[in-house]
């Protein structure tokens, strides 16, 4: 039978082949990408890892979506491999607590434009109202225990699914957890995720043993587990569970719990909380490359005390998640069985949760940076927020009815207008030292183009007046860069199959010229740079 016959057969009903084809179950087949014109762009949401994020409405389904633009810098290596990887992973995943990649949309450059310009790509995901980081910083929002339990359950279920499918997320943090007003939490930003080799976590056995090396340059510092800070390369799914512990603590107290200003400082904060490591609490400690030069002042750890007000159940789960021994750190499956979820007050059901005004990490940064002139809050030790300060501080910041600011007016020079003198500032303000801010949420950012929603948000307004000053943290960044250079480039790493180093350098190359800075700094600086210059093209034009 020749190929030409088979070709004809496709059109002939009596052939068994065409019969079979005609009776095929409907499957996802390969159709091309959507056009950007299939979406009505409603406004810019913020900056993500790859590029800008827009809110849009699908013209086909009417659904609200987020469009994440993938920045192409005419790179030498073509389409960014991080984006390709993220897309490939997301296409394989399907779980209620994982952000769904619904579509890819393409925007062709106008014909008259430079011929070598390649089309712009957008990742299309459902629109989510909040990210957890933004939500926690919204002064009108106080999470109740049933609500925290509900979010934790969803987070752990999503993570259990990822780990069971051999995926390490590697960037667990509040800003990457998206929440909608139906109470659903979804894990987002798979830009650092990858497949791992070896056994999936077994009930009762934590994360198990690592089977091979990966790059240790992952996870935003505040959420990075001690073993990564000490450069363990053979890590496991347990690195994500540490991040869950940090997020859990953050939900309890309302702000990040371990906000180190350097890798060394981060470790010190961890020892403050969990006690200094010993052979018993952290077996294998001596073999970690980063452990050699370390001689911390012995201390017990104040976790129990610091979280006393949240009850023994919460403390017990937190201890399991923030266990120094990464081998016995609880896995997602076992954490879901923890008594914390079975004792009253019981976890709320997602549909019972209240809805809130949209809040994104992007907004929060703005608010905090607004107040950078004020002295830093004591760090590390303070628990809880100054409840009376918060709300007012926010409400006053924008003034009632503050909408109508011109869009994208945040592109003024450094040292622009100082915060209004009468602005009140919460006592817990913490961003004065500009730590390696977790990058802006990959998917969503500020909501300044949106009308405020109902639901207890007060009349907080988004204002673009603040221009932060960045100069003061420059030296620290240099330190950090030196640190990370030392880490990088173990021999043979590259050909071995973990392409993160390469990946990262791609991204870096594409976005900045400094040699291989770490991810979070990279992002920070990029964001800074973006603020510092005129807005890009604005929302894509529907065609």
């Amino acid at each position: 039978m020749s190929a030409s016959e088979s070709q004809e057969a496709a059109g002939r009903p009596q052939s068994p082949r065409s019969f079979a084809i005609a009776h095929q179950r409907p499957r996802s087949s390969f159709v091309g990408c959507s056009k950007i014109a299939d979406y009505e762009v409603l406004g810019k949401l913020g900056e993500g890892t790859f590029g800008e994020v827009y809110r849009a409405r699908s013209r086909k389904t009417g659904a609200l979506v987020a469009l994440k633009k993938i920045i192409m810098h005419n790179e030498k290596d073509g389409f960014p491999i991080t984006a390709l990887r993220e897309i490939k992973l997301l296409k394989l995943l399907s779980h209620p607590n994982i952000l769904r990649l619904e579509d890819m949309a393409v925007e062709h450059p106008p014909r008259s434009a430079d011929k070598r310009k390649r089309p712009i790509m957008y990742m299309v995901t459902p629109y989510m109202d909040h990210d957890l980081s933004g939500l926690l910083d919204n002064p009108s929002v106080t999470l109740t225990e049933p609500q925290i339990k509900c979010y934790m359950q969803q987070l752990l279920q999503g993570l259990e699914y990822l780990h069971a499918n051999r995926i390490l997320h590697r960037d667990m943090k509040a800003a990457n957890l998206l929440i909608n007003n139906k109470g659903i939490l979804q894990i987002a930003d798979f830009g650092l995720a990858r497949h791992y080799e070896g056994k999936t976590p077994q009930p009762g056995h934590g994360g198990g043993e690592g089977t091979r090396d990966y790059t240790a340059l992952v996870v935003t510092r505040w959420y990075r587990p001690p073993e990564l800070l000490m450069h363990l390369k053979r890590y496991t799914t347990s690195i994500d569970l540490w991040g869950v512990g940090c997020v859990f603590g953050e939900m309890l107290v309302g702000k990040p719990i371990l906000t180190g200003e350097s890798d060394g400082h981060q470790l010190e904060l961890i020892w403050d909380l969990c006690g200094t490591p010993t052979i018993e609490t952290m077996p294998g400690l001596k073999d970690l490359p980063g452990a050699e030069a370390m001689s911390p002042k012995p201390r017990q750890g104040n976790l129990g005390q610091r979280f006393r007000e949240y009850g023994s159940g919460a403390i017990s789960l937190l201890r399991e998640l923030l266990k120094l021994d990464w081998r016995s750190r609880i896995n997602a499956h076992d954490a879901l069985q923890h008594p914390y979820f079975r004792n009253p007050p019981y976890p709320a059901k997602p549909e019972e949760l209240p809805s809130f005004e949209e809040s994104h990490e992007y907004d929060r940064k703005k608010y905090h940076e607004k107040r950078t002139v004020l002295p830093p809050a004591p760090r590390g030790g303070t628990v809880g927020r100054g409840p009376n300060n918060d709300g007012d501080g926010y409400r006053n910041s924008g003034g009632p009815g503050g909408r109508g600011y011109p869009r994208n007016n945040n592109n003024r020079n450094f040292g622009g207008p100082a915060p209004a003198p009468d602005e009140r500032v919460p006592a817990w303000h913490r961003d004065t030292r500009l730590p390696p801010r977790p990058p802006p949420p990959a998917d969503y950012g500020n909501g300044r183009d949106r009308a405020p929603r109902g639901g207890g948000g007060g009349n907080r307004q988004d204002v673009d007046t603040y221009i932060p000053s960045y100069d003061r943290d420059a030296p620290r960044r240099d330190d950090r860069r030196r640190d990370d250079r030392r880490d990088r480039g173990g021999p043979g790493d590259r050909r071995r199959g973990d392409y993160d180093d390469r990946t990262r350098s791609n991204r870096t190359r594409s976005r900045s010229r400094s040699p291989l800075p770490p991810r979070d700094r990279d992002r920070d600086r990029d964001r800074d740079r973006d603020r510092d210059r005129p807005p890009r093209d604005g929302p894509p034009h529907p065609r």
Partner: protein, 319 residues
């Protein structure tokens, strides 16, 4: 997701049917192009020392791409290079554009034995033939990157390909290798599966991996005279008799078809020196009833070439 690893998006009947209407050369010619290009990808994969799992995925992506884009819209060898580049990039062994450029330049030169008719003397190796100047490298590079983009968009970024090879091994293990020497039957099965990638019948786009695996085992068992279970064993692997019959014939027929095509009367046999078929040749065969579309050349490339020429002149003068 576990199941997702075993399934592929398939071609719709519509796509297969419309393949011929997409400004395409006649079926015979189109199939020859398809086959040659898939072989080119395989040859490049070997020279680039890529694992077959990578090269095979590139074969499948290329086949998918040509269901969506007209086969004549880009130079065939460029499409081959771009799919291979993209797949390698996501996988464990990315290749550099420079390596890619060198390998394709070699394979397309008259010094390579690629698709040279059997019996021909090996061609003389003339390194100048496949020397890549900076200009030609830049031009190649920019063509590959725009094609990469086009391919990704056409496939909606669905770059996952499930290959039948691992499944076939699992099936063989579950059947105790049909009580023949493991290596022998496994090799034969893999040969059938790799050949299926080249098939212009698009077996890999119309059948899920389990079907291909079962058919390859069936064929290999026949070839080696191995005794298969008496029962309808393929049903255990979710393949029905009709599908199996079609695949078995499809896989077996390829050898004869290639023989015909490479023979004196065949499309590829008529090419005296062998080698990769080009769009120009196809247009020539079609009788040039269509004016050859002058490719708009990238002004920067033109400029770079002029500078190269100038440099050569200067160097020549100096010498």
């Amino acid at each position: 997701m576990t199941m997702a690893h075993m399934k592929n998006p398939l071609a719709t009947p519509d796509q297969i049917f419309h393949r011929s209407s997409l400004d395409s050369p006649p079926t015979e010619l189109r199939d020859a192009i398809f086959f040659s290009t898939q072989c080119l990808t395989q040859a490049a994969g070997i020279l680039l020392q890529l694992p077959q799992s990578v090269t095979a995925q590139a074969n499948v992506l290329l086949a998918r791409f040509w269901l969506i884009e007209p086969i004549m819209s880009h130079e065939f060898s460029d499409v081959s290079a771009a799919t291979l580049y993209t797949v390698a990039k996501i996988g464990p062994c990315p290749c550099t554009p420079r390596d890619l450029s060198n390998v394709y330049a070699y394979l397309l030169s008259s010094s390579s034995t690629f698709l040279s008719p059997p019996g021909n003397n090996p061609p003389k190796n003339i390194p100048d033939d496949y020397y890549q100047s900076e200009t030609s490298y830049q031009a190649f590079h920019s063509r590959i990157l725009s094609l990469e983009h086009l391919i990704l968009c056409s496939l909606s970024f669905d770059t996952t390909v499930s290959l039948p090879h691992p499944l076939a091994i699992t099936y063989l293990q579950s059947m105790d290798f049909l009580y023949v020497p493991k290596e022998k039957i496994t090799r034969r099965v893999v040969e059938y599966l790799n050949t299926a990638l080249l098939s212009p019948q698009l077996l890999c786009l119309t059948t899920q991996p389990n079907g291909l695996a079962v058919a390859a085992i069936y064929n290999a068992a026949k070839d080696l005279g191995a005794k298969m279970p008496e029962c309808e064993w393929w049903e255990v692997f979710d393949v029905d008799r009709e599908d199996l019959g079609f695949l078995v014939v499809g896989m077996r027929s390829l050898e004869g078809w290639v023989g015909g095509m490479m023979g004196e009367e065949g499309v590829l046999g008529k090419k005296k020196r062998g080698g990769m078929i080009t769009r120009k040749e196809v247009r020539d065969i079609l009788g040039g009833d269509r004016p050859p579309q002058e490719e708009e050349e990238d002004p920067e490339v033109v400029m770079a070439r002029r500078m190269d020429e100038k440099m050569r002149e200067i160097e020549g003068d100096a010498a």
